[in-house]
Subunit: 378 residues, 4 copies
Amino acid sequence: MKNLNIGMIGYGFMGRTHSNAYSQVNHFFPLKYKPVLKAVCARDAEKVRSFADQWGYESVETDWRKVVERKDIDAIDICTPNNLHKEIALAAAANGKMVLCEKPLSMNTAEGEEMVAAIERAGVPNTVWYNYRRAPAVTLAKQLIDSGKLGRIFHYRANFLQDWTISADLPQGGAALWRLDAAAAGSGVTGDLLAHCIDTALWLNGSITDVSAMTETFIKERKHTLTGQIEKVSIDDACTFFCHFKNGSLGLFESTRYARGHKALYTLEVNGEHASLKWDLHDLHRLQWFDHGDEGIVRGWRSVHVSDGDQPYMKNWWVPGLQIGYEHTFIHQVADFLKALEEGKPCSPTFREALETQKVCDAVISSAKERTWKTIAS
Amino acid sequence: MKNLNIGMIGYGFMGRTHSNAYSQVNHFFPLKYKPVLKAVCARDAEKVRSFADQWGYESVETDWRKVVERKDIDAIDICTPNNLHKEIALAAAANGKMVLCEKPLSMNTAEGEEMVAAIERAGVPNTVWYNYRRAPAVTLAKQLIDSGKLGRIFHYRANFLQDWTISADLPQGGAALWRLDAAAAGSGVTGDLLAHCIDTALWLNGSITDVSAMTETFIKERKHTLTGQIEKVSIDDACTFFCHFKNGSLGLFESTRYARGHKALYTLEVNGEHASLKWDLHDLHRLQWFDHGDEGIVRGWRSVHVSDGDQPYMKNWWVPGLQIGYEHTFIHQVADFLKALEEGKPCSPTFREALETQKVCDAVISSAKERTWKTIAS
Amino acid sequence: MKNLNIGMIGYGFMGRTHSNAYSQVNHFFPLKYKPVLKAVCARDAEKVRSFADQWGYESVETDWRKVVERKDIDAIDICTPNNLHKEIALAAAANGKMVLCEKPLSMNTAEGEEMVAAIERAGVPNTVWYNYRRAPAVTLAKQLIDSGKLGRIFHYRANFLQDWTISADLPQGGAALWRLDAAAAGSGVTGDLLAHCIDTALWLNGSITDVSAMTETFIKERKHTLTGQIEKVSIDDACTFFCHFKNGSLGLFESTRYARGHKALYTLEVNGEHASLKWDLHDLHRLQWFDHGDEGIVRGWRSVHVSDGDQPYMKNWWVPGLQIGYEHTFIHQVADFLKALEEGKPCSPTFREALETQKVCDAVISSAKERTWKTIAS
Amino acid sequence: MKNLNIGMIGYGFMGRTHSNAYSQVNHFFPLKYKPVLKAVCARDAEKVRSFADQWGYESVETDWRKVVERKDIDAIDICTPNNLHKEIALAAAANGKMVLCEKPLSMNTAEGEEMVAAIERAGVPNTVWYNYRRAPAVTLAKQLIDSGKLGRIFHYRANFLQDWTISADLPQGGAALWRLDAAAAGSGVTGDLLAHCIDTALWLNGSITDVSAMTETFIKERKHTLTGQIEKVSIDDACTFFCHFKNGSLGLFESTRYARGHKALYTLEVNGEHASLKWDLHDLHRLQWFDHGDEGIVRGWRSVHVSDGDQPYMKNWWVPGLQIGYEHTFIHQVADFLKALEEGKPCSPTFREALETQKVCDAVISSAKERTWKTIAS
């Protein structure tokens, strides 16, 4: 067993999911590498100390530049708000560290290109935490599509619906609500939620060639946590787009934080000539599967409880019928990252792959702004 | 096209479903017989006239004996409370009329045996309105079981759950509530609801050999509509039993009118060696189907939308995806009765077949009373 | 009871649903008018005679001009392919007949405007068969929205997904497949399926101000039934659009006949500030309802089985728990038309109201063609 | 933070779930005690060493008597087959160790009584791993029932359906299949599966007074793994019983390993006067809730996604919409055990409480054998 010393920067919600993944991965997956929680870094010394104690980090830092320079750190995990991703990634690469970066890769395509160039120049292993690829049911969807069982694809459809920002009293900005602040997040639902949908879509269905989008900001002004002032809201509250995929299929994507009744409902559906599949995050352990080849009188959508040993990742968990949950998607990503390290292979999505999602996001934002179709540069 | 003159006795809820079936059947099913609404009979002259006008009955009667003696009537349809079934059926048979009798066949096995003897002596076509057999999804279940796709059957499970009698203020007895009056109904949920479950079970899974039951009357006294007095409630509010089928499988049945949240939830499930199926009345146009022979990674319960032309009865209705409803089960029973008439065959369930259900009901009631197993006489 | 003599032109699938509605309406709804099946018209004398016999039409015609001129006809029901709607409606109006026209109103807005002008000039009662408004669950949705329970509306979302034209071997055109022939249908899924979604949307959520659309024809050539030749397919196989509603909410619509696994899945969802609702045609007797005002720990989507007497139209049918089906939406429309006649009121959607749907359809088609946003003329 | 040194005996499937719980609990729950994986014990030295390495146990033992005598162990966790529970528990108690015992408590009531006496004499903290009580949705059900929202309870219904032993080729006995060997397990589905259902039922709905049961062994003979011989199967493959609860409600329970299509489907439903609830293990993060107090037109079963911070245990996990899984129920039990230790209170179910489940199991088995009702000694 070989140690892989982790230095994590940022310790918010994603800090917990990543720390948990590092702690759990060797209990369930047979691997040659073992992550060691070497250091965690954040500006508030007291809070980061408390976090370190809870998760067993060996040390804390309050300046991320120190972490990326420490000799005893092998890999940098970037869990900060989006506006710091680039700077940290560049410094980490410059110091020869592996980088695991939270999604979205960057604030925009230009930043992302800089990051890809730096990371590839450094030649370090890298990955971006688009964790939903590793929900076993989504990985199973990938297997099914790649097997050809669906035949020609006609439609790809994805939504990410939430309802937590409907109240006009909710402020924007600050530690807890940086996702509502365009300066920290880059965009609203497009980068936060649609980026997930796009990443999965590109993985399952290939490249997107052009997009046409509409965005909306329902609540135009909110108090800013940092200034205490009522300020204009610059993020997109809702974003819808349709598109063409390179394989000739049509795509339809929607995200909003104003869909009352949906907490975090990421859904996707793929319609093929011979078969179709559906998945949603609220019941992430199930895949809906329709096979037109089934005998006609008993043909119907199958609700597949993805908990058997022959389904992706599941032989490492419990027994059939016993479901896993959200955090397991991160454990799977770490397991795959460590396995790739063993085998000297890249771990998808790499920075380069995640840049494709960034390009689509940028095209979506500018299409909505200019009310016109936008082509994705290939 | 040959007319079949109907004389219907009783005109309550079931009177409407049957009248509708007679009115609709020739619009959708190609048949040689055409039911003609010749006469409807009930004691209240004004009400029965109004009913006749609404449905287009040619005449009304207030004495059922007249109807069974009328020369221009071919078939008697018995829609009265259970305590009149026997007398009317016997008179109808004596007059050489065909008989279509509402379920349950009779108040008890002894009455039922008398009715079977009379009807068979008369040699007249006869059927009992166990309409749920003709929900297309249930008929499809029958086809699937008979095809051998399920293999050896291990379990048969059925519920009929309602919640409309929970209020202690609901009275018992009288025209609208005779089902709560043991004198008119014979029993409570056993004859009203479990009889349906048992009929379907015998049809799908064969004979029951012995039963062990429990009944309960939750509200012990209610005002009686006819007397205006608080009287003891003699019906069973809830009844549960388990049993052995002749084929070695186990049965489990439950019915109640105290299951808050369920309006008329008749559910059934059959578990076989190779496949299982489920159905429920609240979504009667669907069949749940599980086939263990499906490829493991995409094995799951299929929700079959029974609306295609190759599924039972559905080529006579609309197009795939467009569901039918409750009343269609009665139309199907009339269609099958008329078709059987054409072909000179019996229409299931006949009086003799319905008597089997009566025997199980009687065994259930006496098992519950005596707290012991009861064998069903074959 | 007053007779309303119906002359129906066309007798295909819609001819059956309308004939059934006329036959059934007085059995279930207390009304002063009674439709009489006076005449049915189609070019094939033998087939129309057989249809008339099955449904009890008193006479047949093979020239629709004769029907609209017959003195004994009160109302003309147009069930022909779309390309005949205008001509028949104009002639009917000129003869002072009421008109019930199948949807969509017309081939395009220009035709529709001519029809509205003619019908209003004639001052005759008129309606368009957008039957899904009268699914009880959809009518209930209307009540809920109008009650203000949802508060400000943020999103309106509707799909109409089918899969019956995926096979490249399916021909286009002719009696059975005129919906695939642009010359007869005007458009593909836009007029056939999205028109339903748009009509319901306008009814539930008010006017649409602008749209941006994408269409696709997946199978470019098919054999034409009438010519026997392989010909270019001119209809849209799939159509997606997003839009703004006048009330500030966003709309997202999609329709396709290439969504494997969906027979006729019309779904709609409305997200409001305080509550949301969902409905779909495959379980048309249910409404999904989410009320944010519910106590937090037990808040969730409610699956409402729309079968109680206090829910729209349901007191006229059976008892709680017993579902109705597809054809009942047509019966409700006839019931409402007759009731409106009694009361001297218009029956929604009138020709004028249905013209709004036509305008949106036209804007959608031209937006897709020109790849740009289109404003709806108000 | 105070260490609690764990000595675990047995390391099979339950060994993993318990080890995971000890590893995870302090990451998510603020507690004063911290479990330390001091020792794990099993007969096979090599395998137990490998297990210890994977989970970080500090030492291994191959003789359980040594573990219970070690001074550095505070708590004994019994994960062995059922036939060893008693002996180990008695020895642990005699050595003053706390005991966490896998369910069912014992092979039978007599053993259980001995264990309760010993553990109470020793005065050591104790608990039995009936983990499903701690599924957040089940704990929420407990809160709802205790709040009185359901009113008078009429029905309690539970199933535990599996299908993994249908093949006649599956052997019985040995390390992996001791649950099929009556000598090791005591009973079949009754002790393995129904014991869970009964424990939850007693917790939610109070005492059971009498039972009537039926059991079946579908496959009469199987090869025994240890002897290599075809031997009689002595366990129950299926078990059904109904019962009365002390509060006047009726109970209905069923378990089988022959329900094709169900992997581990534990379902429960409680019907009260005012409200009802349902839960199942295949979607353990949801609770179905029906409140008759809801406005009639939008009354329906609510599907509650139990993932909000105000729902049991969930503030310690992620954010609304992100589900947890099976293993979390064990983490919750450890969290509650440690919290109870802090507060000097018992942790439910204690040995004494678990003995009640044993009594019901024994009554069920003997009722089935003697085909008669059995009273539960209070």
